[in-house]
């Protein structure tokens, strides 16, 4: 006899997850350790749902780029009083599988100046063909790292190269302190 509603809560939750075709979801702080653990989970999950090797590799690659972007650029960082913490920043990722296509989503808060740069970069990438993306990737690989990059300036190019459709993004309206949510979706 179940009267405490636990199973019902799970059923509701699972039904929603299934309806949205979600195969992986995480919201919270991102650190390198958390990313490495999630990377394992994502690998297993995508194997389990039967992704082919090529798709699995592309999905994994985009997942890592998104997650590391959150560690580097989310405006919401975790700080304990008076303690230098390793990078921990807030964000969310989810992966949906609909009609054999994987949709990789991530979201994190960004400051207005970062939002502007992201918009510029992504709008530019969206205007390119896949051949132009590959060409730009080659050029960036051989150029000096941009000063505002904590990686190599290759992250979005890598995602755009691996995606089967242009990267899609949105920003929520900025709050009073100038922060907005940055949403990114990659189709694999």
């Amino acid at each position: 006899m179940n009267t405490n509603g636990i199973q019902q809560q799970w059923d509701d939750f699972h039904k929603y997850v299934e309806r949205r075709d979600v195969i992986f979801y995480y919201v919270g702080y991102f650190s390198q350790t958390i990313i490495a653990a999630m990377a394992d989970a994502v690998k297993l999950r995508v194997e389990h749902v039967g992704g082919v090797a090529l798709t699995r590799r592309k999905l994994f690659s985009s997942f890592i780029e998104m997650a590391q972007n959150i560690v580097h650029y989310s405006s919401d960082s975790y700080e304990k009083e008076g303690q230098a913490q390793p990078s921990m920043r807030h964000g969310a990722v989810f992966i949906a599988l609909t009609d054999e296509r994987y949709y990789l989503h991530c979201a994190n808060p960004v400051k207005a100046d970062v939002a502007e740069k992201l918009r510029e970069k992504l709008e530019h990438l969206r205007s390119l063909t896949i051949d132009e993306i590959k060409q730009e990737y080659k050029e960036m690989l051989r150029s000096e790292t941009p000063p505002d990059s904590k990686g190599a300036g290759l992250g979005f190019l890598t995602m755009a190269r691996d995606a089967s459709a242009p990267l899609e993004f949105e920003f929520s309206p900025a709050t009073v302190d100038g922060t907005s949510m940055f949403y990114l979706r990659a189709t694999i």
């Binding site: 990377a39 090797a53 592309k58 780029e65 590391q68 990686g151």
Partner: protein
């Protein structure tokens, strides 16, 4: 010069530079938190070795990286650039580039290396998928 060994971690590869055997190897996955620092330190050790190395015998670099993120890609490019500089001055340097036969991304990156660093003896080594 001392050999360099760094054990693999969940997000960084095994680095096994046996300078005494003239055999250097990289194996695993690379997406460390700070790729510039991780690879920068390795490149610094490699540079030091190459600067003082006067032996005519070939130097072999075996690379079997199953995945590397964008910032590691950039640093790897710099690492092979360093090897190429030495090869340009007459050293015999072999680069064995191992990858899964179906992994086009890693295969293509190898082709970029081959084009950009013609002084290395580049060998593409496609490995059968498991």
């Amino acid at each position: 010069m001392d050999n360099l060994f760094i054990a693999a971690s969940p997000s960084s590869p095994e680095v096994d530079f046996r300078f005494d055997e003239r055999r250097l190897s990289l194996k695993g996955e690379s997406y460390p938190e700070n790729a510039a620092q991780f690879w920068g330190d390795i490149i610094a050790v490699l540079r030091e070795f190459l600067q003082q190395d006067m032996v005519a015998a070939p130097l072999t670099m075996n690379v079997a990286l199953a995945y590397f993120n964008s910032s590691s890609t950039k640093m790897l490019f710099a690492l092979f650039g360093t090897l190429n500089e030495k090869a340009k001055s007459g050293a015999d340097i072999v680069l064995n580039w191992y990858h899964d036969e179906d992994d086009d991304t890693i295969f293509e990156f190898g082709q970029e290396l081959c084009e950009d660093f013609p002084d290395l003896s580049f060998h593409d080594q496609a490995v059968k998928s498991q």
